[in-house]
Symmetry: C2
Subunit: 114 residues, 2 copies
Amino acid sequence: MKFEKTLLSGSNAMLILSLLSDGDKYGYEMVRELKRRSENVFELQEGTLYPLLHALEKSGDVKAYDKTTPAGRERRYYHLSEKGAQRLQEKIREWRFFSEGVNTVLGAAAPSLG
Amino acid sequence: MKFEKTLLSGSNAMLILSLLSDGDKYGYEMVRELKRRSENVFELQEGTLYPLLHALEKSGDVKAYDKTTPAGRERRYYHLSEKGAQRLQEKIREWRFFSEGVNTVLGAAAPSLG
DNA sequence: CAGTTTACATCGACAGTCAAGGTATGTCAA
DNA sequence: TTGACATACCTTGACTGTCGATGTAAACTG
C-alpha cells in the first residue's frame, strides 16, 4: 500500500532519532532498518536521509564519527546525543498530540472509524 | 501545545474533505470548524485553505456554489462529491496505515510509549 | 462613522521530499 | 580478471504544501 509522500513531512527526523535511540547506526543501515521496522511502510530515500543527518549533526542532536569495517569499508556512524534524546521525546509528544487531533476530527465526521 | 507545521503536510486535504462529509460548508466556516473540532489543535490558514479548495474543485472532489445570506453576505459553499467521498475514504486508509507505521517504529525503539 | 469581524483571495518565500545522478569500494560468479 | 551487483556516501534541481503578509469589500458594533 502507498500513501502520499507529503504525509511524511516532518516525521522523518523523528523516525531517524528513534532509530538512533536504539544504538549508533550509519546512513545506509538506517534506510534498511527503517524499512524493516515499519514492515515496509517507509522507504526513506537517500536524498532525504543524508541532508537530514547533516542538519541533525549541525543542530547537535547527533554526533558523527567514522569507522572502518574489518573488510576495509568506510562508514559514518551517528550517535544520538543527550540533546537529541530530549528532542526525540519532544517530537514524540508532538506526534501523539497531532495524530490524536487528526483522529478527533475524523472521528467527529465518521464515528465508525474504529 | 505546538507541533511542527510540517507534520500537517498532506493531511489538510483529508481534514477538509472530512469536514465536508458532514455537510456543505464555506471556507471561512471551515477554518473555525476545524479549530473547534480538533479542540484548537489545528488552525488552518486561509492562505492554505483557499488554494486547497480550488485544487479540490478542479479535481472534482468538491463542487462549489454561491449563496447569499438573508443579510446579504456572499458565501461560496463547497459540497463533497461522490468522487470526493471515495477519495476521503482512501485518504483515511492511508492515514491509518501511515500513523500505525510511525507508531510501530516508535514502539520498536521505545516500548514504553503505550 | 470608525473599528472589528466576516469572507474570499493572491503572492513570495521557505521547508521537506524526491528522483536522478555522481563517486568509490567490496563481493562474487563466470 | 572482468563485469555485474551491493554497499556506502553525497549533491543537485524540481516540486509540493504551508505560511505570513497583504489586498479587497461588505456587514456588524459601539
